[in-house]
């Protein structure tokens, strides 16, 4: 195996993993439940698929653009990215190791042959509908869209029906978006929710205005590759003052063999609006590694708030490290307006290799960035994930809570940057990251970067749960609250609480994580 990064090799002998006594049993069980042999989304769907020829060339870029019937400007944009990509080098600083990727041995476009665009849910091939049903994705709630079974008249009714919030879903199957539900209802509220290839046609002015403004084409190797070949993804626009009436969600499914998935998501929250968005990802069990190089761009204008949650459960490869997804993703949010807020929540359990740093550019004065992450690695998984908080505006605040749990022979790295610009008066950051090793054959690593250029900034980084303000802790404990609970209470937004807010119909695996305790953390 060719190596990238400076990580220690795992020995290949069959040494049994020993777990030390102080680790909470529930935690061990929760991590075990996530082992690859319990991967329930690993089936593949038999469906005729149309591919672009293998490999990457200007012709393939043009092929994808033609397939989508894109305007000239977008083809040019893709071509620029492609030219740029040819001059770039694959990054190797992350603490991950993987076989060298042959970029000419990948299909950059795969779509169900029956066509990529469906007028209604009834036209969607039944194999695909079944796939999503099997994955527990409420695509059938599209029935509401079709006006059957007591379709909700208003957004409010939809929310309250069955006592549980409705979720609008955009389902992306390989390179295309196959269905977007609740569209009509969202339209009533003025919210645009559609696949990005549709948005290019229906709202070119919005796409043109925002695409690539958060993650520029030349940002990094994988983002540039994505800019050249992105196939589909979701576009969301929430108009000024609108609170999006339901959770929005995209469910990514990689099905075809030897394909890469390169989706691009763009979410714009206009002044004073609010939107909560959730993405889920799964893929069949295959022996080959597959590349997933997505780009997500978020724009929050004045007083707007975006909450972005991810439940990442791509096929992690088997226990010996065979197969699995390479998840090389660029996610960034731009708090462009004053008092805007972007919050990332991620539950990372899948992928063979993860390279992912959802970030916030805190440009607007008084803007807020948050990052809550829980990453569990098993088997031979390698995750190098974290966040960047770039403080540019005055009085900007950020909070980072990261929990890493490594089991089996996996490696789990938190890598995060907190950067305070010269002009970011009174910036504040609080970072807490804990790691837990389950067994003696895995690795847990922490690589925080802190760049401070303001005398009045206040930056704190703690790596153990006992290092909160002693006074606060004393106060809470004095009132009879146990230490761990006290810490959870004090670090408002402890991951456990964040998880509870995730729409659970997507996240069975997240639910089991609620049992996780970080007692016995190594730092």
């Amino acid at each position: 195996m060719d190596c990238c990064g400076g990580i220690e090799e795992h020995d290949d002998d069959c040494v049994e993993v020993k777990v030390k006594d102080s680790i909470d049993e529930g935690t061990v069980a929760a991590a075990k439940a996530l082992e690859s042999e319990n991967y329930s989304a690993g089936f593949s769907t038999e469906i005729e698929t149309e591919y672009a020829p293998k490999g990457l060339s200007p012709d393939i870029v043009k092929f994808i653009s033609d397939k989508k019937g894109e305007p000239e400007w977008l083809l040019e944009w893709r071509m620029n990215a492609y030219e740029r990509w040819l001059t770039m080098e694959e990054p190797d600083w992350a603490m991950v190791r993987y076989a060298k990727i042959d970029y000419q041995d990948i299909y950059y476009y795969a779509a169900p042959k029956a066509g990529a665009k469906y007028e209604s849910i009834d036209d969607v091939p039944k194999e695909i509908l079944e796939t999503y049903e099997k994955l527990g994705i409420p695509l059938r709630e599209a029935e509401v869209l079709l006006g059957v079974e007591g379709a909700a008249e208003t957004a409010i009714e939809a929310r309250t029906e069955n006592d549980r919030p409705k979720v609008a879903v955009d389902a992306v199957f390989d390179s295309v978006s196959v269905a977007t539900t609740f569209r009509e209802e969202l339209k009533k509220a003025g919210v645009i929710f559609m696949s990005i290839s549709e948005a290019v046609h229906e709202h070119p002015e919005l796409v043109k205005k925002y695409l690539g403004t958060v993650v520029p084409q030349s940002d990094n190797y994988f983002a540039t590759l994505n800019s050249a070949v992105f196939s589909d993804g979701t576009f969301v626009y929430v108009p000024p003052g609108v609170r999006c009436p339901m959770e929005l969600s995209t469910y990514f499914r990689m099905n075809a063999e030897n394909t890469g998935q390169f989706e691009r998501t763009l979410i714009v929250a206009d002044k004073g609006s609010y939107v909560s968005y959730l993405e889920g990802c799964t893929a069949p069990m295959r022996d080959e590694n597959q590349l997933h190089a997505a780009v997500v761009e978020l724009v929050a204008l004045e007083d707007a708030e975006i909450k972005y949650s991810t439940v990442q459960n791509w096929w992690p490869g088997d226990e010996n490290g065979k197969g699995g997804i390479y998840n090389f993703v660029t996610k960034r949010g731009d708090c462009r307006g004053a008092r805007s807020k972007i919050s990332w929540t991620q539950v990372e359990t899948g992928s063979a290799v993860t390279w992912k740093y959802p970030s916030c550019v805190l440009r607007g004065d008084d803007s807020v960035g948050e990052f809550y992450s829980i990453a569990v690695t098993n088997g031979r998984q390698m995750a190098d994930t974290g966040t960047k908080m770039i403080h540019l505006g005055k009085r900007t605040r950020s909070r980072i809570i990261s929990k890493g749990i490594s089991a089996g022979k996996s490696d789990n790295t938190y890598r995060g940057l907190v950067s305070v610009n010269k002009k970011a008066d009174q910036a504040r950051n609080f970072t807490q990251c804990d790691s837990l090793l389950i067994g003696d054959r895995c690795g847990a690593h922490t690589v925080p970067y802190v760049e401070n250029r303001r005398a009045d900034a206040q930056l704190e980084h703690e790596a153990t749960t006992t290092k909160l303000s002693d006074d606060q802790l004393f106060y809470v404990r004095q009132r009879g609250i146990g230490e761990e609970e006290a810490v959870a209470l004090l670090v408002n937004g402890f991951v456990r609480e964040v998880l509870q807010e995730l729409p659970m119909e997507f996240a069975v695996e997240a639910q089991s994580l609620l049992k996780v305790s970080l007692e016995g953390s190594v730092g």
């Binding site: 600083w93 067994g439 847990a444 925080p448």
Partner: protein, 415 residues
């Protein structure tokens, strides 16, 4: 067969003027396999620059366009030595003391010595390749055979020289002890000091370092330390920085039960940069590391802290390690960059790290001002108290001199 200058040039990727001058120097030194290996390790990176992960905030290549004589002499007096046991290195020559602490022997090596892990310390490798001189000293070996009751001093200073490259190696025999006090007072355009310390079973070592360069020179102090069974190593450094300055320590717990304490403080005025970098490998069970680094930076100054604990699988079990870095940005325009890093492969360990940076506590300032202490003085006093913890482990004979140096800097510069 000796390599020509042009062969050597080919080993570098885009050598700059400073690297070409270093190549020319190397070509003049006597041939030696060890020297060649060290130089090749240096050539593989050249002068470290910001595109290298471990040097992203400390760029020697950009700050050293060419190797030029310093326009200023030494920046401060060396730390006081009561009994004249002082080894002085100054641009190509060494002066040895007539009397040494008990149990200390000096060996002058004229041939180049091997350097382990040379690739990990590019400037250490450069020093190993260039410290020698024709017919003269290459490496000074300090052997400690019993408990030395008085400290040994090393002074590295230039007299408006171009370079001052020095290599010292210390061997602490079982159960022996030495207090070493180093004063790196600047005065050369580019100084680099490499010290290798090998601690045998039950040995102990206390190293106190003062670093003070000028705003037009580059300084590197690299220590490679190996700890034997139940040995104890304590390091305390006070750095005022230079145009670019790096104090790097690569320490390995090689045998179980060893104990290391790595403390330091940096104070940076306008135009000064100070970098504390450490890499601690817990390569044996039940080893302990304690690390406290404090810093205070003024407008136009830059402080860098990079710490790493590496705990390997199995052999690193029962590691107990704690790393703390705390910095004060005393004025707008100050910069502090920190990377407290953990790389852990063993599950039954305690590793903690903490990092804070910010301003002085306004409540404390208010309290002092209320009692009639002028603001500048109050700020200087609070800063002095803030960094004091990191200097407590300095050898007692120079501890006051160290805190005095910090105090007078703060009294002069803090407004």
């Amino acid at each position: 067969m000796a390599l020509s200058v042009s062969d050597l040039k080919d080993k570098f990727r885009n050598p700059g003027a400073a690297e070409l001058e270093l190549i020319a120097r190397y070509a003049m030194l006597p041939e030696s396999g060890q020297r060649e290996r060290a130089f090749e390790a240096f050539a593989s990176t050249g002068l470290p620059h910001r595109r290298m992960e471990a040097w992203k905030w400390t760029d020697f290549k950009a700050n050293l366009k060419s190797v030029e004589a310093s326009s200023r002499g030494a920046q401060c007096a060396p730390l006081p030595a009561a009994d004249q046991a002082v080894i002085e290195f100054s641009a190509g020559s060494v002066s040895l003391p007539t009397s040494l602490p008990n149990g200390v022997k000096l060996h002058e090596r004229k041939d180049a010595q091997a350097l382990g892990d040379a690739e990990e310390v590019p400037l250490g490798a450069m020093t190993a390749a260039l410290a020698g001189r024709v017919g003269g000293l290459d490496t000074l070996i300090i052997e400690v055979t019993e408990t030395a009751t008085t400290p040994l001093h090393i002074v590295a200073k230039g007299d408006r020289d171009e370079t001052n490259f020095t290599r010292v190696s210390v061997i602490v025999r079982p159960g022996a002890h030495l207090d070493l006090v180093e004063s790196h007072v600047g005065g050369a355009g580019f100084s680099s000091f490499l010290i290798e310390i090998g601690m045998q079973d039950g040995g102990s070592f206390n190293r106190t370092v003062l670093q003070h360069g000028s705003a037009d020179e580059a300084q590197a102090i690299t220590a490679v330390v190996n700890l034997g069974d139940k040995s104890e190593y304590t390091q305390t450094a006070l750095a005022f920085g230079a145009k670019v300055a790096r104090l790097e320590t690569r320490l390995t717990h090689q045998e179980s039960g060893s104990h290391a304490e790595l403390n330091g403080a940096y104070l940076c005025a306008k135009g000064f940069h100070a970098d504390f970098t450490s890499h601690v490998r817990h390569g044996a069970p039940s080893s302990v590391t304690r690390q406290v680094t404090k810093g205070a930076v003024l407008d136009g100054g830059t402080g860098v802290f990079q710490g790493k604990f590496h705990v390997p699988r199995t052999i690193g079990q029962h590691t107990d390690a704690d790393m703390q870095h705390q910095a004060l940005l005393l004025e707008d325009g100050a910069e502090v960059f920190a990377k407290p890093e953990l790389e852990i492969y063993a599950d039954d360990v305690e590793c903690a790290h903490g990092n804070t940076s910010g301003a002085l506590d306004p409540n404390q300032l208010f309290y002092m001002r209320q009692r009639g202490i002028p603001e500048a003085q109050a700020r200087a006093l609070l800063t002095e108290a803030f960094i004091a913890e990191a200097l407590e482990t300095a050898h007692e004979s120079v501890r006051d001199a160290l805190t005095d140096a910090a105090r007078s800097f703060l009294m002069e510069s803090v407004r």
